[in-house]
């Protein structure tokens, strides 16, 4: 059980390199229960790698990661049941229909909120016909919406989202944010998500973390960071993640 204050996610001195390139370098990060954290960084900075290492999907070169107090390399069944994840690349099993896909994953989880799934499918445009269409014939946006529904279906305590709305139009994104506000944040879920759509982050993220050169270089409450610097989130992003070498006259 988590007492308030013990981090739900703890990364200590995490290092990961691909060949010669050190993507994560001595990274420390903690996420407390109930936090809604936006992870920001430039393209190729390693946000996806960081999230994958955080969930134990990649082996670390150095350092340790604990989720719910357990070492991430050997999560217990109970811990795995509390995690929801939307990976960046939605390579869903494209021979299955949405109904089949959800049934498949339903068998994997002890708890599955059928009512929530039905509600989301209905509200997000999955009519009876679409639910019986193989995923390979769905559009990118529909596939992404399906991946999000699947991640929310088992009422996770920790929700990790890697560019979850990249293929959605503004209405789709607004629906997603509403669902986050209503169904996820209200329940006290911890949410970590990386996205380039800063307006979405501004609305929903209470905390921000900036990944640069393999470390979290800036983190804190979004409001405080914006008020201290007296800039918009976009300018804060550019200012924090800009390379020293690529300084251009503002």
């Amino acid at each position: 059980m988590n007492t308030v204050g013990t981090p739900i996610v703890r990364l200590s001195s995490v290092a990961k390199r691909f060949g010669e390139h050190a993507v994560l370098d001595g990274l420390d990060w903690q996420i407390l229960p109930g936090q809604i954290v936006g992870l920001l960084g430039r393209n190729g900075a390693g946000k996806s790698t960081l999230l994958e290492c955080m969930l134990g999907l990649r082996e670390l070169d150095r350092g340790s990661v604990t989720l719910f107090g357990e070492d991430v390399a050997a999560l217990s069944e109970a811990a795995r049941a509390r995690i929801g994840y939307v990976p960046q690349k939605t390579d869903l099993f494209d021979w299955l229909t949405p109904d089949q896909l959800l049934d498949y994953f339903k068998a994997m989880y002890p708890r599955w909120n059928d009512a929530k799934v039905e509600g989301l499918l209905g509200r997000w445009g999955f009519g009876a016909r679409l639910r019986r269409t193989p995923v390979k014939r769905l559009s990118g946006g529909e596939q992404q919406r399906l991946a999000i529904i699947r991640a929310l279906a088992h009422d996770p305590d920790l929700l990790v989202l890697d560019e979850p709305v990249s293929a959605l139009d503004p209405l789709g994104r607004r629906d997603f944010l509403r669902e986050l506000v209503d169904g996820v944040i209200e329940r006290g879920t911890t949410v970590v998500f990386s996205t380039h759509i800063l307006s979405d982050l501004e609305r929903v993220a209470f905390d921000l973390a900036f990944l640069k050169e393999g470390r979290i270089v800036l983190q804190g409450q979004a409001d405080a960071l914006l008020e201290n610097e007296k800039v918009s989130l976009e300018d804060l992003f550019i200012r924090t993640t800009r390379d020293a070498a690529s300084e251009v006259a503002p």
Partner: protein, 477 residues
Amino acid sequence: MMPLAQYRALLRVTTVQRDGGRHFLYGKPVLGVFAVLTATFSVGFTHDWTDFAHVARVLLGVAASWLALAWTMLFLPASMTMNSAAHARLLPQQRRGLLHLAAAGWALVTCAMAVAAGDWRFGLVVGMLLQAFALVFGARPLALVLVVAAGNSTWLAPMLLPPAVVAAFAGPAGQAGATLAVLALGTLSLRWLYPAGGDAHLALSARQATMLAHAGAHDVAEGPAPHKHAGPVALRVYGAALRRAGRRRDAARLLMLGLGPVAHWSAWIGGAFSIVLIGVCARLALWWTDAEPVRALVNGVGGLGMASMVLAVAFSTAQFGQQLRRHAGEEALLRLTPLAGDVKLLNRRLAGQLLRAGLLNWALLTAAIVAATYVFDAGDEAVLREFALCCLAGQVALTGLLGDYAEKGGWSLALAFQAAVVAALDGAASVALGWWNAGTPWPWMIALALATGALQVLYSRRRMLAAPVAFPAGRMA
């Protein structure tokens, strides 16, 4: 006509610069093979070293073969992809240049082959074969009809055309005219490979990409490599298996079914059915008529058919690795599920399931092949022979089944080579043992294949269990 420099640039992009300039056709092994072939044929057919014309023709033949390979495997795929719908409209001179190069290459190969063999008909046959390849990979199968008709014109023409016309083409001038006509037809038909833009072009490009990816031209085929799709019957069987596994919450089965219907045994139902059908049809054909040519044809087709089916058995495990590497994101999610995500058990479960699937596929195909041979009534020895060959092929198939899937795992070129060598050794040993015991090699082949196969499975399974967690596959590559 474009300036020569543009032709040279197009040629370079489509051939030399493929695969980062290291395509295997330019590599030492292939050139070495050709050198050896040249030397062998030259020495073999010419005891008199002053017969330069003959040697020159052999050299020309080898060069023309290499050119034909380069034309089919390097130039064609790249040129078809370069001629996308957008490029065709915006860069018409590129399309023309590619057309000219394609036609010139084809004509060159055809003529070279004709000269090398000393017979223009041989050149035409090669030319028609190249056309067939090109049109199939260019997703223009209907145009094949014309090509086949042209290729068979010698015996088709007297049946279809009035005798006067046939007589006009009979003399040498007529023959030359016919040859030229066929040549012209060949160059013209290549135009079908390079359309000039529009909706039809976009549809064709999609089909061409599929065909090229199937042909292995992954580096030029646009888009991700499409995968084979299972037929409707197979999908239904797969769906039932999926529901059953879901109801029973069988973690191992669910993991394996996540590889898709292509990796399920039901995908081979159609193939197995066809094999048995071929046997039945051959039997019926023999009942119908006992004529000698029909028997010869049926025997020939039967032999060739069964041999290629045995080859299919050897390749039956190739798609497991492919499917595993295709869905890394979903495999990551499976790692995080309570039921199937236990890292200590995942490799064990996957290994067991892969083995089960591989053996099931083998059993299904072998049963079909043996049944077809039996129905075809080629004799007990033939049945035993086919079974032995299936065992040998099964041993090959099992080699690349298990491995370190977190890395590259499964089949690789090196592993395929090793499997082929081991199979050849087994085959040779069984032949030797059979000869030594004054019997057929087949029982020995069966025993050796089973023994070698079991050893390989034990060894690769141990390696797989000691390797890191297989899901998400290919992450350490």
